[in-house]
């Protein structure tokens, strides 16, 4: 059928009943015929009879025509319903373009909210509900101890693993693995630090993947005394061994052990976590006491026809039996079977799951709040369209139709916002993946991409947002006031009103902004400051790394000489390595510490000066009570870092002896201990904070250094620090810091790693990177976070301003006549302006007050810790008032411009 002009489609809908239309047409025919006959000379009576006769069976004709006509109408309406939806979309796009300000504000506001929701959904979705990309992956399970035995989450002792393996019937191929870092030393002497999975042969059967070359690990390999073997990933075969076709049978050194390569796994195989090297898990059953031995991760496959619940029930029974048998170690033992990918998240994550899901819901609510704001704006726009809506309703469009059209218009807005939001979330996820992968690889089943699930979630959010943005205003606009809308259509006024709900929303929003902005501003300021801060010039040329010596054999806890022997060996090897590194031509200096300055993990310690009584404990707050960080550093650390000694002396060789008491303190700590006076020679002691307040020995302050840690590590707080002198290898693992003479860091890093392996094959230099590199990595992460906060903050401000603007321009439009009359009656402009501002002022004022009250309540709950926020509060309140008044300025000026005669004529 040919395209008809748009208006004709609408006219069609309002046609009369088919029968009466047919009657009209037949009546016309009959009258024409009668007139013709009369014209030909028949008398009216005969003309009438002849005409009826010629028409034939009138009832049949009438029924047949009416039925055809109603059929035609039905088809037409169906067609129209379809074409109208398309029309609605076009209208929606037209609206988007017609009100660019409103569109930009709404789309950006919703886009930020959608980006945050989608990013969180995708990020945590990948962790919360992962799909294991293995054959029948959902039947692969992990066995979790329920409570931590080894101190490390989700790990199981050898004893328990063996007990489960022998007892479980619902889980087949029960296996275990543990991750180890090893030096890989190839035949040509290259050294590389790799992550090895020591895994039972069943692991390959659970994964259901066969090697591309050779064989997988077998049970025979796990026997004590079996020849050491190794299976490698396809990628490593290509990268390290240049895809050598004769790889099988070749030997490589992994730490102390020379292993024969027996298999190459196909491309992409990373089971159990993200491994590329697999060695047999050799367990010494003799040391398998309930809590001894290395910690293992246990996995398996559900037996055929067994549900997860049945496996859980069986493991729970076994767990209860073991708890009864070993009350000392297993009393709180509640082992549980989990989907494999969940095992890796650990037990704490399992407990945090409801929280994570709640946060996800809360983030979706963020969009609801933004959408409500946008709804206010759209409502104000809808108010200007009451006339159009009234005309359409009068022409027969149902309320449902009008609401549907406004919904589709809102959907166009929210879909545009979703597209931007998804793009932003995609970029953020890619950045996050890069960032995570710099610190090591992610488990093979975690994919931080925008998956179909996320897109579906965003689609749902878009529909919810459109429902709020479109349907709420539409329902109000098509309510009982519509009749008035039609009446006032000609006078260009608007009968719609912004009721209490909308005013309350604006008050709430200003309150929310006032309450949340100070904290956000402080946080943003902090991150921005961190984001632009430059490290100390002395940080350039420094290379940091962690020195670890790996235990090749499983240590028997019963052997009391094993640990001291290991320590002694490490001290010896570390000293040797440091000596050899010093000899390198590119190395200007080398130093070490237990932790890199600024990254010390021991956090809170109490200090007491020597004026305190000679008690054994530090229990009460003494004259000086500070939280400090302590570290043990090489005597030359300050030289290598180019840190001047502000007072006193440097560390000397004598300070590393056992029982030495000299310490060096940071300027902040010196200030805290001695005030302005000299701290040198003062005695202090400290204790770990917490229940164990046993005091350490008395120490004597020998020197003072500046607070330099934050110039080398991206931190924001200046924490008082205390340094002990340490000998090489005293702490394990140790941080080694090398000052280069210039040149590239990467080749030197490789050489240092090789050097470590030469000194001892079990000695590894891990996470080698320049201090500047680490600084920049931290800065990037902080910058991204800061950017996100600023984006949210700006969208809150933008939406508040837009909401107030919409409200004000709406009010002015409604009071046009009144303003006109008042100025005709001689009211002064400033009075009129004041009356326009009064409403905005009242709402902003109420919002600011509510916000301040909220902060005060939080302040009271937090025990008065929000001092910084208090300082910012007046500023933020003023800002909101300015934003609000600026938003009201345009409408107020428009109000003044109303010509009295014009306003009156509109009546």
């Amino acid at each position: 059928m040919a395209e008809r002009p748009l208006w004709r489609r609408w006219v069609h809908v309002f046609r009369r009943d088919p029968k009466s239309e047919v009657d009209d047409e037949l009546r016309h025919h009959y009258e024409q015929r009668v007139a013709d006959y009369v014209a030909r000379g028949l008398d009216p009576e005969s003309a009438h009879r002849a005409a009826v006769e010629r028409l034939g069976d009138l009832t049949r004709v009438r029924n047949e025509c009416a039925s055809l006509l109603s059929g035609e109408r039905r088809i037409h309406e169906r067609r129209m319903r379809l074409s109208v939806s398309w029309l609605d979309i076009k209208l929606g796009v037209r609206m988007l373009v017609k009100y660019p300000g409103l569109s930009v504000v709404s789309v950006l506001g919703m886009a930020v909210a959608i980006a945050i929701s989608a990013g969180y959904f995708a990020g945590y979705g990948a962790i919360l509900d992962p799909a294991l990309p293995l054959d029948d992956g959902d039947r692969v399970v992990g066995l979790h101890p329920g409570v931590s035995q080894s101190g490390s989450d989700s790990e199981v002792s050898v004893h328990d693993y063996v007990a489960w393996r022998d007892a479980m019937s619902t889980v087949r191929e029960l296996g275990a693995f543990r991750s180890q870092r090893r030096n890989l030393i190839t035949a040509d002497g290259r050294t590389e630090l790799i992550e090895v999975a020591a895994i039972t042969a069943s692991g390959f059967r659970v994964a259901r993947v066969s090697p591309a070359l050779g064989r997988p690990l077998l049970e025979e390999d796990e026997r004590a005394g079996a020849a050491p073997v190794l299976v490698i990933a396809h990628e490593e075969w290509q990268r390290v061994f240049d895809g050598d076709p004769d790889i099988l049978g070749q030997t490589v050194r992994l730490g102390e052990t020379v292993r024969t390569v027996v298999g190459v796994m196909p491309e992409g195989f990373r089971f159990p976590v993200n491994h590329r090297y697999w060695v047999p898990l050799v367990l010494n059953a003799a040391i398998a006491q309930p809590s001894d031995g290395p910690a293992l991760h246990v996995f398996g496959r559900l037996a055929d026809g067994v549900t997860l619940e049945r496996a859980r029930a069986e493991l729970a029974t076994i767990g209860a039996r073991m708890a009864a048998a070993f009350p000392a170690t297993h009393e709180h033992f509640r082992p549980i079977v989990l989907p494999y990918a969940h095992l890796y998240r650990g037990y704490s994550a399992l407990e945090a799951e409801p929280t994570i899901r709640a946060v996800r819901l809360a983030l979706s609510l963020l969009l609801v709040i933004v959408a409500l704001n946008v709804a206010i704006l759209v409502y104000a726009r809808t108010a200007t369209r009451t006339g159009e809506i009234a005309v359409r309703s009068a022409l027969g469009a149902s309320r449902r139709r009008v609401v549907a059209q406004l919904f589709v218009e809102a959907l166009v807005l929210s879909v545009a916002a979703s597209a931007i939001g998804l793009t932003l979330a995609g970029i953020a996820l890619r950045l996050m993946t890069d960032w995570i992968q710099r610190g090591g690889e992610m488990p093979f089943w975690i994919d931080l991409e925008l998956r179909p699930g996320t897109i579906l979630y965003v689609a749902l959010l878009a529909i919810i947002a459109a429902a709020i943005v479109g349907v709420l205003p539409a329902l109000k606009a098509t309510g009982k006031r519509l009749q008035q809308g039609l009446q006032q259509f000609s006078s260009r006024g608007s009968a719609m009103q912004l009721g209490r709900t909308w005013s309350a929303l604006i008050v709430l929003q200003v309150a929310g902004a006032v309450a949340a902005l100070p904290a956000a501003i402080l946080f943003a300021e902090e991150t921005i400051w961190l984001g632009i801060r430059a490290p100390s010039p002395a940080a350039h040329g420094l290379l940091q790394s962690t020195l670890v010596m790996h235990r090749e054999e499983i240590i028997d806890a019963a052997d009391s000489t094993a640990e001291p022997a290991f320590r002694a060996r490490f001290a010896d090897r570390a000293a040797e390595l440091i000596r050899r590194i010093e000899e390198q031509p590119e190395v200007a200096g080398i130093t070490f510490a237990d932790d890199f300055p600024g990254r010390e993990s021991n956090a809170t310690i109490e200090v007491e000066p020597d004026v305190a009584p000679a008690a054994d404990t530090i229990g009460q707050r003494g004259p000086v009570f500070v939280e400090i960080r302590t570290s043990r550093v090489a005597t030359n650390l300050f030289d290598v870092f180019r840190i001047p000694i502000l007072a006193g002396r440097k560390f000397g060789p004598a300070d590393t002896r056992a029982g030495a008491t000299a310490i060096i303190v940071s300027a902040t700590l010196a200030e805290r201990i001695a005030g302005g006076a000299s701290v040198l020679g003062r005695h202090i002691r400290y204790a770990e904070r917490g229940e164990n307040t046993q005091a350490g020995p008395w120490l004597e302050v020998g020197g003072v250094v500046p607070d330099f840690a934050n110039d080398f590590t991206l931190n924001d707080d200046v924490v008082p620090r205390l340094f002990h002198a340490a000998a090489a290898g005293e702490s394990h693992p140790a941080t080694l810091i090398v000052r280069m003479r210039g040149g590239e860091a990467a080749p030197l890093a490789t050489r240092l790693r090789n050097l470590a392996a030469t000194v001892d094959p079990t000695l590894t230099l891990e996470d080698v990177e320049t201090v500047i590199g680490a600084w920049q990595r931290d800065q990037q992460a902080t910058g991204a976070l800061g950017l996100m906060i600023v984006a949210v903050m700006l969208s809150v401000l933008l939406l508040s301003a837009a909401g107030i603007y919409a409200l004000m321009s709406f009010t002015v439009a409604r009071r046009r006549r009144e303003i006109g009359i008042r100025s005709a009656l001689g009211a002064e402009p400033h009075r009129i302006i004041m009356s326009v501002f009064a409403r905005a002022g009242a709402q902003i004022g109420a919002g600011v007050l509510a916000g301040i009250t909220l902060v005060a309540v939080l302040w009271a709950l937090d025990g008065g810790r929000l001092e910084d926020e208090w300082v910012l509060l007046p500023g933020v309140a003023a800002l909101m008032i300015i934003v609000g008044l600026l938003a009201a300025l345009g409408p107020a000026r428009r109000g003044l411009a109303v010509q009295p005669t014009e306003a009156l004529r509109e009546e």
Binding site: M1, D24, E25, L26, H28, H29, Q32, L55, G56, C65
Partner: protein
């Protein structure tokens, strides 16, 4: 015998399409136009005309709207749609082929066999 011809089944639609192709017409006008262009040879059953008009409109071959007739009465006017025009062309060609074939068949003489 009168000089009026019997309307062949299926030809009414074709005639209506032809009539409205010459200009928009109300129902009675369609009737008169067919009589006029057939030189009065074709008389339309009025009981068949209106169902045929509604059917053609239903098929999208013609469309209608209400207007005012020459004697100032409300009347429903029909006109050809684009698809109606296409159909008219096809039907006319097909009719001409058929008529030609029948005419040739009927004119055949023993000599031509």
């Amino acid at each position: 015998m009168s000089d009026q011809a019997e309307l062949l089944p299926g030809t009414l639609d074709l005639l209506i399409l032809k009539a409205v192709s010459l200009g928009k017409l109300h129902g009675y006008g369609v009737l008169l136009r067919i009589e006029q262009i057939s030189g009065g040879a074709l008389q339309i059953q009025q009981g068949a005309l209106y169902p045929a008009l509604y059917r053609l409109e239903h098929q999208g071959l013609i469309e209608s709207d209400w207007g005012v007739s020459e004697n100032n009465r409300r009347a429903k006017y029909y006109r050809l749609t684009a698809s109606g025009r296409r159909r008219l062309g096809e039907e006319t060609a097909s009719w001409n082929r058929l008529a030609d074939a029948i005419a040739r068949s009927l004119a055949a003489t023993p000599q031509e066999l």
